[in-house]
Symmetry: D2
Subunit: 191 residues, 4 copies
């Protein structure tokens, strides 16, 4: 019964919609517990994130999926303050050997979304986590992964309502990733 | 008479010491005006940075040097909130064709410092800026650049007092970078 | 009278078409000399590139634009053997303070094209070069830059003939970059 | 009984020594079969790598560790030609869900080693593989990981004999990584 937690920031709601899709995918795997944890601006005081309950839930998980819009070529500042707040966890390596994955949304087809996914990867490696990407060919096996990323799920949205964009294909990519992480968590098992 | 501005975040003072060294280098070039601008936690409300005076000073500059400690494999959250706050400037491309450079400090010899420097680079490219690295061979021509980075200046400091670490060699790297940027700004001139 | 050299590898001809577009852009700037240099497989012996004439032409240039398809998440192996062959130039820093830029083409909308552009950037930084990106907003000011990269020009092509793909919009991005580099080379001038 | 294969290029023998250390680590885990596969220049014809036996051995493995010196800010050209030769494997996703890891050696303390490790990561993600880093704190728990990388193992060597450099601490990092990958392969098991 693995626990998959999705921790994300969303400004306008597009990344929240993406996170919901990832949660749907993870929940579709039998016996998976899914936590959907939103990083809230109110928990960021003078640029430092503090929410012990969120961190404790993550530490109790088997897999963590990181999500953020790509703002100005990287993860949002709000997400980064959250990441910085995991320094104590890092020092104790409490997340070591958990599974990790990530997703991002931005207005452009590519933008610098890859840099955000690479950041999630590097964060996971400092924590000693094991990284799982999308594991699906681009533009090949169906409608998903239209932007042809491999390291994580990527979606596009600009000013449209979050229920329209990211579109169904993008949400399908996020859902696929959630399912893949939950499946891997069951296989990976407890140490 | 180029203006070089250094905008940086510093938690414990090590990156501030590095920024001072870069400023010293830039000031050593005749007719250069240098602004040293620290990103302050008090200007970050719920994860959003706001300081119009800092942004206006940067927009009035010919070159901008970005600086941040490397926290958890990337620029500090505080720096990232600043970067996100330049979205309006980006949309108008007000920093287009300015020179850009960067520096970072962390506890490890390498850590993921390169990722922070690459982030500064990507940020500069979204702004249409022109990037200048250190332009010095590693471990070869003297004491500076002991960590052999090329994209920007890198220093190491852990819990030591900021006047001790980053050490003189590292500060020499930052000073070299500041001088190089100021020299390039004079050569590049006004559009 | 700046000299802009474009050095690129092309497997199926798509990147060659992109290089031609960049050359067209550079030639459109008055008094610019443009060299179009293709990396040829026959110059790669047991994985080591050797062509002194190509390297000498580059060393005599004011700006160098690097181009390669993105194969398996990075620059093509052929391009990388060329890059490795610049080690002697690097050691003497013969390309220091030249301008640098880059472009890439791959089958996916994003693929890992950003990683290829970042590689070109890191290569340029080891050489002490000054990097110029596209300097154009994505999806905003017209038809170019449809994949919303900033660090360099990006195009898409799969199995189509090179005169069809990359399409006119993509080639416009490459042409824009060539023009921008040539204009910057005139401004940057001789040391 | 997992099979761990290490595929690497080595120019002067330093990376070969590192690969041996990784193999030693993997062999120390009971019931692990280890293949040490060197990428040879003679298999690279006009910049294209061809060795079906090497690729078949990798496809029959449970985990693959990639290794290369960092040359000019990235993996060696020889390694990249090997990576490009996996395009057919990629298209069929024959390496999907295998474990992946990586190591690199260069003359500088940092150089751009992180970029080589990130390249290995991106390559693994295109193949749908699952990435395992070092999982050890930097400079903290003993002599290993002196350059404080997390994504993979890193060593330093210049012109010294390969039995001297990378030094014992660096080789210990590679050995640690090999052991970690073999342990993870047993845990991950067959699909």
């Amino acid at each position: 019964m693995p626990t998959v937690s999705i921790v994300y920031f969303s400004g306008g709601g597009h990344t929240a919609a993406f996170a919901e899709a990832a949660a749907t995918g993870a929940r579709s795997v039998a016996d998976t517990t899914v936590n959907l944890l939103r990083i809230e601006g109110k928990d960021i005081i003078e640029g430092r994130y503090k929410n012990d309950a969120v961190l404790a839930t993550l530490t109790a998980s088997d897999a963590i999926i990181f999500g953020s819009p790509t703002y100005m070529a990287g993860p949002s500042g709000q997400f980064k303050t959250f990441a910085d707040a995991t320094g104590g966890i890092w020092f104790q390596q409490l997340w070591k050997d958990k599974l990790a994955a990530g997703f991002t949304v931005s207005a452009g087809a590519s933008g610098d979304k890859l840099n955000t996914l690479e950041y999630f990867f590097l964060l996971s490696q400092q924590h000693g986590m094991v990284w799982i990407g999308t594991g699906v060919l681009p533009y090949a096996t169906g409608a998903i992964n239209r932007f042809s990323f491999s390291s994580g799920a990527a979606g596009q949205a600009n000013q449209e309502p979050p229920d329209e964009m990211p579109n169904a294909d993008d949400k399908g990519t996020a859902e696929h990733l959630g399912r893949r992480v939950a499946t891997a968590a069951a296989r990976w098992g407890k140490a």
